[in-house]
Symmetry: C2
Subunit: 401 residues, 2 copies
């Protein structure tokens, strides 16, 4: 934490833009806009790109930006300084992590669970097909992961917090058991970074990746991050071996030679403008305590659960009640959840729907508070108990939800 | 071309920001800032991200953006509508193209040249290692490519315009010969798109990729594009198979099934803010004639060559004089080119240096004109003939050049 500490919500709420009449419970999909972003990006566009032009790679520190930002992310996920690199998307970063891990073992089975976010599974499928060496992706139910760990498993490949249910894996315990069995770990922190304290170094995780447009408020399509444990960083094969990860990118050698450390996981030219937006958002994250964020998140989640269960018995909670097993969202199953969510959004309560029947409400304590939970619960009651969701206009399926 | 036509330079010069005292001859590395960008990006940040929040994926058309922008790029590279997808970086897009191509043939040799941009070669190296099936990357000198085509070659993998010398391959002839021999083609258009007319469909190219931060002025780290010929688009394997390229991304199926057409080449969440900057830049490109751009580029290049050769006999031209063999840059070899370029930059003539001895001057007719060439030549003469480059301050090597 750097700079004067900000109290969660009390000091941070005013640092975000929130449209009138909106209770935003989808910051776990796209975080709200920090007020400093527009000005920061405008400055990078006009004073750096516009005035400095190509010189800005040096003068404005663009070339170092992915590492500099990576170090700020490292502080939020319990990672060693110098172990996190920014770039590309989460799909590509889990691909790099899994490719590097599979290169380190002769075992062939990648173990994941049915609660993993599909892109992680799809990227693994693609990698396994490209490898063509008999690797297999084995999927078990989330609660069966621990029992499925064995000396047959090459890599344990999980998202810490389930995007649908909000169920949280015990990263420390699973990683410890995996290590004892000679299994490498790749953790997806999409719903962890900025949501709860993460301790990658303490857990002994081998690789981790995450996105920055959810709880970290980096903006739509903000760059991803990749963590490589220091004991792998000098030997991990990048697989996506682009020029920015070369030991000497500006020597323009014909042959590839990886840079030292996590720098080798850079691929192409970094997204400078998008990263500038993220940097502005991190100005807030640098100054809050994640323990405080977590405590408030759990309190807000408990409140929403209690209020919704009291008012809407037809909504079935699918998020674990136990704090240790929960991320920073509350999800309910409801057969007509899609229509119900449309009706909620029309009334300013913005959550989202996840197939087949999950109504999902993200908890982002930097800019949502107890009053929001109470108001949201009232509107949820109106929509569910009042059967507002039955209206035809809420049955129409949008292109993207 | 859409909207009222803009005359190259006469109408377009005023649409770019250019700092006082700068003659910018590095638009082939990072294009200059179009005036409309800052406002467009600010609007996307405040009115879309800020006010619409997650809803903007539908309401602001974010989800369709990579395809919509791809169609605008398609118009600039002679590609069919619906054949170009935006996203990620050029390194990743050539990787996807090469992976898809290698999946379509049993042959094992990838033919490229020593003038290809290194990241293309590095990504191929990484792919070949991941494939582990005995593929080989064969490099020949640029002028030997045609003779090296044979039925042993799986994929011809080239950058049309050499980043160092500005030498241009004959895309139509090489592609035709490749096709006749059963060789697939992957063209890197980094120094072509926006520099000269490209006719991918006419040439019968199989795959192509390019970046948008050079001649297309999309901004630092602007997203790349990938072209897949329509006859491959329904069968090409994406290799980097992310959820946005799934047939039904929001069904969240556990198994991957590619979307139809080039849509399958999407990977993760698109960089919305960066793409907005590019869209503002394309507002200019939509309204200019690439034939006119090309004619002016060649005229400006001829002028710079003539003036520099007349004034500085110690600079050796390495760019072909023949128009058909030239891209949109002029390069000279000079043993102390690094120091000389530092001295030029200090005097406002911004080109760049490429190892080992190349002084490179990009020609971007939308915002540089004949007066710039003449002034640049005068300053080049001052630096070279006056041996200004010998001063110690110009011998210091920067981190990035």
């Amino acid at each position: 934490m750097t700079g004067t500490r900000l109290r969660v919500y009390d000091d941070t709420r005013a640092l975000f833009h929130m449209p009138d009449g909106v209770i935003y419970l989808d910051g776990n999909s796209l975080g709200a806009l920090p007020l400093g972003v527009a000005e920061r990006v405008a400055r990078v566009i006009t004073a750096e790109w516009g005035d400095e032009l190509i010189r800005a790679w040096n003068s404005a520190g663009w070339y170092e930006q992915p590492r500099r930002v990576g170090n700020r992310i490292a502080a939020l996920i319990g990672a060693e300084q110098g172990s996190v690199m920014m770039g590309d998307t989460l799909s590509l970063k889990v691909y790099q992590a899994l490719a590097a891990a599979l290169d380190m073992t002769r075992r062939k089975v990648v173990l994941s669970d049915t609660g993993n976010f599909p892109t992680d599974l799809y990227m693994a499928e693609g990698l396994i097909a490209t490898l063509g060496r008999g690797h297999r992706l084995r999927l078990v139910a989330p609660e069966e992961v621990e029992a499925a760990l064995s000396e047959e498993i090459a890599v344990l490949y999980l998202t810490e917090v389930d995007y649908r249910t909000g169920r949280r894996h015990d990263m420390a315990a699973l990683t410890a058991k995996a290590r004892a069995l000679g299994i490498l770990t790749v953790w997806d922190l999409a719903h962890s970074a900025g949501a709860l304290p993460v301790d990658l170094a303490g857990a002994g995780a081998d690789f981790a990746a995450g996105c920055t447009y959810k709880f970290l408020n980096g903006g739509p399509g903000a760059p991803a991050f990749l963590y490589v444990a220091p004991w792998h960083a000098e030997v991990a094969r990048p697989a996506l071996s682009g020029w920015m990860g070369h030991a000497k990118p500006f020597a323009f050698d014909l042959g590839y030679r990886p840079a030292g450390g996590v720098e080798r996981m850079r691929v192409g030219t970094p997204p400078v403008l998008a990263m500038a937006a993220l940097e502005a958002s991190l100005d807030i994250w640098d100054r809050v305590d994640l323990g405080e964020v977590r405590a408030r998140s759990l309190r807000l989640g408990d409140l929403l659960i209690a209020e919704v269960e009291r008012r809407c018995p037809s909504l079935k909670l699918v998020t674990p009640r136990a704090h240790a097993q929960r991320g920073s969202q509350v999800s309910f199953a409801f057969a007509d959840g899609y229509a119900a969510m449309q009706a909620l959004i029309a009334r300013g309560v913005i959550g989202d729907f996840r197939s087949p029947d999950i109504m999902r409400f993200g908890i982002t304590p930097l800019y949502v508070g107890e009053a929001d939970m109470l108001r949201a619960a009232g509107i949820i009651e109106e929509v569910i108990a009042g059967e507002v969701w039955r209206r035809p206009e809420y049955q129409v399926v949008n292109a993207v939800t």
